[in-house]
């Protein structure tokens, strides 16, 4: 058989890359080998366009137990406890089939975390959809939210936080980024190593079917019959099996017989076997006839490239196989010894007695293409930055605030998170609706606070500062619960990297995130890159989503964003120059994204967050809420809703539009008892952090200076009902 140029192209490999394959193995590859190269050298597995820039991320720190390169990152939370976490995208599958695409996204990230030995304790997600009025949006929102809930709820992991935004740039490319946080004892961490020559390789979990073998990387002669029945299919999630797999893996890990374990995610058997051998510097010989399969007549190509869900590959100490097989029998899951670890550094795959793959492991990884793709600042950007953020003039601030609170990006997300089980596990301390979720570490007085964030409009106007703002805001949200941000995970969603302006956005955004990480001491420990998010030549806004995990040493010392009681003093902590560039105000009122995002002073940001955490730890604060999208007027309204308390606020500003709705980093609304005020101000002054007393909690109305005087009930009504404009009335 001869590999044709068509087959090479349909596998997404360039002629250059194919020459490199010929050089590497010294002969023409088999079709299965070509398939393996196509996935191992794909953007998804090899990070060939992004790797060169990802090196910029700070990834180390005394708190980091596992940085990028494993299934998930791990941080130390003291007392022998650790937290494993990661975020991953499932954008394209969710656009094709929203329920299953989102569900399998959750399934994949859960496995990435429990494969490290960690029991998942929280799920989060970051979602982006097109304009609310776009004909596809409601359908996609309903499917994605139901899929996330359908999977996570069944597995029994609470979904505790997230974000959901709408913008026309996502009309043809929605984003579904899912994150899982897990708890593991430091001496029970597992990694994906195929170590120990002679050790058996065991396949566990669901049977392999023809799921998700990509049409694009599909050679035309793989399916001789073009009938509907045989066409590659959408991956379907089976959360029931996932739950059994989770319990079985954790039970099997307790036996001490497992040497290494890895999820079969994208490119299933291929990436798991290659990555495990590559990390350990070993080889593997595997017999595909031993792989449990769901359909008759599957080829080696299909078995190696299938993306069937709920499967794991593990390497077990020789002689102790039966201990592992017994556990999986108890949980009624397939488990099969499919091969063993070798010392020749080669991947040898046998099918029907024939060697179908014989490739060197390390060179295949080392020789993966690495591109420093051309970068060019977009020509249109300067003009956009110099344009006015807002074009009209405004005066009726009460009506505007009501409109803002009911708008798609600011209204209540209860419609979304009420479809997620938020409290299964009986450890959720702060439910969705505050700045970050707080989840207790079972059996301790510690808790983790966690949040996801991205301001993609800022990133569009200035990817560097947008990236920095995103990291800073996510860390700020975690600090607002009182937790010390420990580390971050990222999901970098961008357009086509072969376009210089996209690559420029990527490089700048990574630089911005990195600098903020360094200043705030929040290293990146895991992540994922999703490129080619374009349709009809139009890219999404750069969307580098960030998830931060922080530690609360004493869970009893935490606060939420909600005003607590009448008479409490409202203080604005921090503060910086404001801007309407890329603001929610400009989007709601004029659908306009122009100007420059607000400046960010990372030193000030660091000090504001540190002081905030210190005060919460000392029990001096009653609430804390980050001032972000929509500016201070929106943030104050949000503080009022939960306990239906108004506030009287005195703020001085010349321009109400900027004063009420202008955005800027490093600002937090806090409340405290009346008699703590003086001490707090003295302390803030000593620390050089701006702090301004702005008002008192109480009453039925939110009053802000002379500009705003609205009933809280009216604001809450708009806010509570806003989402029905997206998904329709029930």
């Amino acid at each position: 058989m001869t590999i044709t140029p068509d087959q090479i192209a349909s596998h997404g490999l360039s002629p250059d890359e194919y020459s490199r394959i010929l050089e590497l193995i010294g002969r023409e590859p088999t079709l299965t080998e070509l398939g393996i190269f196509s996935v191992m050298w794909s953007e998804h597995c090899s990070y060939k366009s992004s790797r060169i820039h990802l090196k910029n991320f700070p990834t180390k720190g005394p708190q980091v137990l596992q940085g990028p390169g494993e299934n998930a990152g791990i941080v130390d939370i003291g007392d022998g406890d650790a937290i494993a976490f990661k975020m991953e995208s499932h954008n394209h599958p969710s656009y094709i089939e929203p329920y299953q695409g989102a569900a399998t996204g959750v399934g994949g990230i859960l496995r990435d975390v429990f494969t490290m030995g960690a029991r998942p304790i929280a799920n989060l997600n970051s979602l982006r959809f097109g304009e609310p009025s776009h004909p596809k949006t409601a359908h996609l929102v309903r499917g994605v939210v139901a899929g996330i809930g359908g999977y996570g709820n069944c597995v029994g992991v609470p979904t505790v936080a997230g974000e959901i935004y709408f913008d026309a740039c996502y009309n043809g490319n929605i984003l579904v980024n899912a994150m899982t946080v897990g708890h593991v004892r430091q001496d029970e961490i597992f990694r994906g190593f195929a170590s120990g020559v002679g050790n058996p390789v065991i396949y566990v979990g669901s049977k392999t079917g023809r799921d998700g073998i990509h049409g694009a990387t599909m050679a035309s002669d793989v399916f001789d019959d073009a009938s509907d029945e045989k066409r590659p299919t959408v991956q379907v999630g089976d959360p029931f099996t996932e739950k059994l797999l989770l319990e079985a893996c954790i039970e099997a890990m307790k036996t001490g017989a497992i040497v290494g374990i890895q999820d079969m995610g994208a490119a299933g058997l291929t990436s798991s076997s290659f990555e495990m051998a590559s990390r350990a510097g070993t080889g593997i010989v595997m017999d595909l006839d031993k792989v449990p399969n769901r359909e008759p007549g599957m080829t080696a190509y299909e078995l190696m490239l299938s993306e069937s869900q709920e499967r794991m590959l593990m390497v077990v100490t020789k002689g102790r196989e039966s201990e592992i097989l017994e556990v999986f029998e108890k949980w009624e899951l397939d488990a099969s010894i499919v091969g063993e670890v070798t010392n020749d550094g080669r991947m040898k795959i046998i099918h029907h007695g024939e060697a179908v793959v014989d490739l060197p492991v390390a060179p295949l990884a080392d020789a993966a293409p690495l591109y420093d793709r051309p970068r060019q600042k977009p020509e249109w950007l300067d003009a956009l930055n110099n344009a006015a953020p807002v074009q009209k003039t405004y005066s009726d601030w009460n009506a505007i605030l009501l409109q803002m609170m009911g708008s798609a990006n600011l209204c209540s997300r209860a419609w979304v998170y009420e479809q997620y089980d938020q409290s299964v596990g009986a450890n959720t301390v702060t439910l969705p609706g505050s700045d970050s979720a707080v989840v207790r570490v079972d059996g301790t007085k510690k808790a983790v606070a966690t949040a996801v964030d991205c301001n993609s409009r800022y990133c569009y106007l200035d990817p560097y500062w947008g990236g920095a703002h995103t990291l800073a805001e996510c860390a700020r949200n975690v600090s607002c619960s009182g937790a010390l941000p420990l580390a971050a995970t990222d999901c970098l969603n961008f357009g086509n990297p072969e376009r210089p302006e996209i690559m420029w956005q990527f490089e700048r955004a990574v630089a911005g995130v990195s600098d903020a990480c360094r200043e705030l001491n929040v290293p990146i420990v895991s992540g994922n890159v999703s490129l080619y998010n374009e349709s009809v030549g139009s890219a999404i806004y750069p969307t580098p989503t960030i998830g931060v995990v922080g530690l609360l040493k004493d869970v009893s010392r935490h606060v939420t964003s909600h005003f607590q009681k009448k008479g409490d003093v409202v203080i604005l902590l921090g503060g910086n120059e404001l801007s309407l560039g890329g603001s929610e105000f400009a989007w709601v009122m004029e659908k306009r994204v122009a100007g420059r995002p607000p400046v960010l002073d990372l030193k000030l940001e660091k000090n504001v967050q540190a002081l905030l955490r210190e005060w919460i730890a000392q029990g001096k604060l009653l609430s804390a809420h980050d001032v972000s999208d929509g500016g201070i007027a929106v943030a104050l309204a949000e503080c009022c809703f939960k306990n239906e308390l108004g506030a009287q606020i005195e703020l001085k500003f010349d321009d109400p539009m900027m004063g009420l709705f202008g955005e800027g980093g490093s600002r937090i609304i806090i409340t405290c008892e009346r008699d703590s005020v003086t001490k707090l101000f003295d302390h803030a002054k000593k620390m050089g952090v701006p702090a301004l007393p702005v008002g008192i909690v109480g009453g039925t109305h939110l009053k802000i200076g002379k500009s705003i005087n609205v009933e809280v009930a009216a604001l809450k009504h708009e806010w509570s009902n806003g989402f029905s404009n997206v998904v329709g009335k029930e």
Binding site: E97, R210, D211, T233, V236, D238
Partner: protein, 78 residues
């Protein structure tokens, strides 16, 4: 007239429900069960139309709502 619509998962698409039910049947002693696949049966009542017209309409309903053709196929009986 009555249109009977059978919606089933396409061949090759994993059917978690069918898998779990097949397994449960096995543990209940029905060892001969080789496979179980679960589908939906839908009855659509229509005014009396020419058969080809009715079939075309029901087909539209299947494509538009009753079946998710990304993962499901359907069969119509009139």
């Amino acid at each position: 007239m009555l249109a009977k619509v059978y919606v089933t998962l396409k061949q090759g698409v994993l059917d978690p429900q069918g898998k779990a039910v097949g397994h449960a049947l096995g543990t209940l002693g029905f060892k001969e069960v080789e496979d179980v696949r679960i589908g939906k049966y839908i009855e659509v009542t229509l005014p009396d139309l020419p058969k080809d017209k009715a079939e075309a309409r029901v087909k539209e309903m299947c494509e538009g709502l009753l079946a998710n053709t990304v993962i499901e196929s359907y069969r119509i009986e009139l």
